[in-house]
């Protein structure tokens, strides 16, 4: 019985997002669609999230591959070591980077100290930039993304690989033709795990993003929390994000189901 109550609560949740404050109108939506500013910001966030997600998946794959397929004895412990940072405080890890990237932060003062750069020429593009936001987000999500890829690689039937090499394929070909396709569900899951939260990110951009690192999530927060609250526009932006995310998730699960059928 109780789970049904939970489900009811969820649907209420989503319902409340409708910009019903001033009656159900489509004006907010019209303004949004015609406004190049908000959609432009959304695109900017999509681009940043894509870069981060692709980079993270690309980096996480070899890690998961090593853990799952190299036959190392302590793979679960190592996996835990890899994931543990993700389970510590997010804000504090962002703080660590803020401390590192500033003009007089750890990295730059280290360079001064060792004489690699003079005091007058610190590397300023590190902090308060799009680069900073993407670097920090990648850092935060990397551990977590390795997990689904690891799971799908671990359940890989080794005999398939051996069969491929017996038939004359090189390791590389075996990887491309057998391992990679079979691990795609894990990759897809990992990609979603980082892409979706990153799209709505606002904490990291507000701490290390400066003006150029401002993202879609920041705009939503600003419309609700600061300035003169504009709940209508904020709701519109939020629902738009939710819509995109839902479509993406649905598309990916269709894709995954299709793969599973093909794989058997």
């Amino acid at each position: 019985m109780l789970p049904i109550a939970i489900v009811a609560a969820y649907s209420l949740n989503v319902y409340s997002l409708l910009p019903g404050e001033h009656g159900f109108t489509l004006d907010g939506w019209r303004a949004f669609i015609h406004s190049s500013v908000y959609l432009g910001l959304f695109w900017k966030s999509v681009k940043m999230s894509l870069i981060v997600s692709v980079a993270v998946v690309a980096l996480a794959y070899p890690l998961a591959y090593y853990l799952a397929l190299s036959g190392t004895k302590r793979k679960y412990v190592l996996l835990l070591v890899l994931i543990a940072p993700f389970l510590t405080s997010y804000l504090l890890r962002v703080l660590a980077w803020k401390v590192i990237l500033g003009n007089e932060g750890v990295l730059n003062t280290f360079l001064f100290w060792t004489g690699l750069r003079s005091h007058d020429h610190p590397i300023s593009q590190l902090l308060y930039s799009r680069f900073a936001v993407m670097l920090v987000l990648a850092y935060v999500w990397l551990p977590f993304v390795a997990l689904p890829i690891f799971v799908s690689l671990e359940s890989l039937d080794r005999r398939l690989l051996e069969a491929a090499t017996d038939l004359g394929a090189s390791r590389w070909q075996a990887f491309l033709r057998v391992t990679l396709p079979l691990s795609l569900p894990g990759v897809a899951a990992g990609f979603l795990f980082v892409f979706i939260p990153t799209l709505g990110e606002f904490v990291t951009p507000s701490l290390v993003g400066g003006t150029s690192g401002y993202m879609y999530g920041n705009q939503i927060v600003d419309l609700f929390a600061t300035g003169f609250p504009d709940w209508e526009t904020g709701s519109v932006l939020a629902i738009f994000l939710l819509g995109v995310v839902t479509v993406l998730t649905a598309a990916f699960s269709r894709f995954l189901q299709g793969r599973q059928v093909a794989g058997t």
């Binding site: 835990l80 504090l92 390791r171 939503i220």
Partner: protein
């Protein structure tokens, strides 16, 4: 010949793995170093060793209040999340009903909803219902967020348990509650503990949703966030950061290892 990896490839990957681990832990290590540094700003060169910052944060009443609030919220929300999670998991694993896929998708949906959307919708919901924002609203928000994690931990464990054990109990005349208490619960206990810990750490660290629905008391992450934007208390914050990270690392790794050990023992008992 190893079909998956050549010896060279394995070596390269091993180095890469080590590199990444260093990259992951290095910033934490840097925080550790600077928490002992005798200076207002974290920068090289190091100026001297001090325990001053640790002492300062221990006597900071705002900070302690925030820690307390977060602890209470985390405890309450994780207990609820675990209770609901156990119920939901049992229903999902043991019962058959229409629309199971839809329900489980809905229950797990917070995993793929950006927290900003979540925070906003909760804010609007509470506003509509006229519920004032307070610690309670944060607890509710956190229960919803933690629930998927608890379900994800409990369902696999429940699936692993041999149903025949429960059926045997019924045959012997035990009611569902008795069965649960004596058979199911002990077997899933490690997973329950894991779920509780995951829910607790998730709630303790959660900023995004809390920032939307918190009342006048601050939670620890909210305190941290304003400390980060008003960095006149930076060294103290770094000291706190180190403590929290180290403690959570120990708790998480310890709990996970503990869980595996206990579960292996229980599986041995089952067979």
């Amino acid at each position: 010949m190893d079909a998956a990896l050549s010896k060279n490839a394995a070596r390269v990957l091993k180095v890469f793995f080590a590199f990444v681990v260093v990259f992951l832990y290095a910033p934490i290590l840097i925080l550790l170093i600077f928490s002992f540094n005798d200076s207002d700003f974290p920068a090289f060169p190091l100026t001297g060793f001090t325990l001053h910052w640790y002492h300062e944060f221990l006597t900071n009443p705002d900070l302690k209040g925030a820690l307390e609030t977060s602890a209470i919220v985390a405890a309450l929300s994780s207990i609820c999340a675990v209770l609901l999670g156990v119920l939901a998991s049992i229903v999902l694993v043991r019962r058959r009903f229409l629309g199971k896929a839809a329900v489980s998708a809905l229950l797990l949906s917070p995993l793929v909803i950006p927290y900003v959307v979540f925070g906003v919708s909760l804010l609007l919901l509470f506003h509509r219902l006229g519920i004032p924002r307070s610690m309670l609203t944060v607890v509710i928000g956190h229960v919803v967020i933690s629930l998927p994690y608890t379900i994800l931990v409990l369902v696999p464990r429940l699936e692993q348990i041999d149903v025949s054990l429960e059926e045997a109990a019924y045959d012997l005349g035990a009611g569902p509650l008795r069965t649960f208490r004596s058979i199911t619960l002990p077997l899933i206990l490690p997973a329950v503990v894991s779920a509780f810990l995951i829910a607790f750490t998730t709630s303790f660290d959660e900023y995004a949703v809390a920032s939307f629905v918190v009342g006048t008391r601050t939670t620890f992450p909210i305190f941290l966030y304003s400390a980060l934007r008003f960095p006149n208390q930076l060294p103290q914050v770094i000291a706190v950061a180190v403590v929290v990270i180290v403690v959570s690392l120990i708790v998480v790794i310890g709990a996970e290892l503990g869980r595996r050990v206990v579960e292996r023992r229980l599986e041995a008992l089952e067979s």
